[in-house]
Symmetry: C2
Subunit: 244 residues, 2 copies
């Protein structure tokens, strides 16, 4: 049962946009776990809006693969199998690695300052005797996106956001419940390396650092062995968009 924020303020041009942003934020923050079912009516009631804006928001999130409609007509957070999670990880390594490389080439001083601040924040929080896991995950996200934003490619940012939306529930599920991994500091090394590479305008180094960070985090999650086997026998074409 996903926990609900007591009252959420909706922003955005339209109500549908507001709902979408809110759901996106919750997905990224790990409020929902893989397999959780969402009810359009329940969300609508919780947010004090009608079902229409919720439906629009959900349809967009389904388009992004952040949610899925089961054949039983239930909207839920997708459950990724090991194979699918591996595929997602491989994709993230390539695409976020690309963003990091571009960031190293195109960053300006303001970008660097934001990245350095996030990196310092992450280090600070991790060094505390009892790190706030939810906060740590949030800062980690902030750091990654600070780097990607410096790549100055809004379309690339959108793609990466889509990937994070797919991975978010799993990452949050496993990261925010394990103190051991956060405290071990394996991720910190990569973050520091990424910052240094972006500062030095070292595209290859930035790519490797980000790729390493993603790879080891996902390797850890897979090693937990909590991911189910693949659901799709082979694979299903994205949105069966191409007919002929």
């Amino acid at each position: 049962m996903p926990l609900q924020a007591p009252r959420a303020t909706l922003e955005g041009g339209s109500l549908g946009d507001g709902v979408r942003q809110l759901l996106t934020r919750r997905l990224l923050a790990g409020v929902y776990s893989p397999g959780d079912k969402l009810s359009l009516r329940r969300v609508a009631a919780d947010l004090g809006v009608s079902m229409t804006p919720v439906r629009e928001a959900v349809s967009r999130l389904v388009a992004d693969g952040a949610l899925e409609v089961a054949p039983s007509r239930a909207v839920r957070v997708p459950i990724l199998g090991v194979g699918e999670f591996r595929e997602l990880t491989a994709l993230r390594i390539e695409i976020e690695g690309l963003a990091a490389a571009w960031a190293a080439e195109r960053r300006d001083d303001a970008d660097l300052a934001v990245i350095a601040e996030a990196e310092a924040g992450f280090r600070l929080e991790r060094a505390r005797p009892a790190p706030d896991l939810v906060l740590t995950v949030a800062i980690n996200q902030k750091l990654h996106f600070a780097i990607y934003r410096a790549a100055r490619s809004p379309m690339l940012m959108e793609i990466i956001t889509g990937l994070w939306l797919k991975a978010g529930p799993i990452l949050n599920l496993d990261m925010s419940t394990n103190v051991a991994r956060v405290s071990s500091g394996t991720g910190e090394r990569y973050h520091t390396a990424a910052l240094a590479a972006v500062r030095a305008r070292d595209a290859v180094g930035a790519r490797d650092a980000v790729a390493g960070d993603i790879a080891q985090a996902c390797k850890y999650i897979i090693s937990l062995g909590r991911l189910p086997a693949n659901r799709s026998p082979q694979y299903i074409d994205g949105g069966l968009l191409i007919s002929t």
Copy 2:
């Protein structure tokens, strides 16, 4: 004024899905041109459905960036500026190049046969005294996606489809109205090289061939000089998904 197919059959689990697939196909086929305005009510009437499924389809396409809602509350096909088109091209080179590389590594004989058939079809059509431009564009798309499908990554396929949806209206606008470019056969060389590389399991060669194909096609379109200047002063964050 976009031309309408006399009567289109809607497939898919739900009406909304059917409408989405239909609109997607039209976008990819160049039925709509950049700047064309779509009316939800008109589309609904043309398709014989209510406004609800159309709204859902459009909201998904807006999420993918294939359509946009202007501040004046009009849904239209986005008009890409030169800078945005360059960004899109750079992204396509990286991501579709990645797909081609994976395809070279992972393809099996069945994949290769499909790719070879599409390549032969493209060559055949181009060699005709009066090539059917619309058909040529369709075969070109078929060839590209045959390659990408061999990469065996549905998520990557979805990303690429999203990129094509953004680029489709422009590509079709300029390619299907210019016999010169098709007849010149510059694209054919890259296609043949891509096929050969995939056959030889040469990942680097496949990436270079696809990248070359995209680069020269987009260079040609930019050289036409019909693209307007950038619309966004700097750049707008994809879907303003990240708040903090």
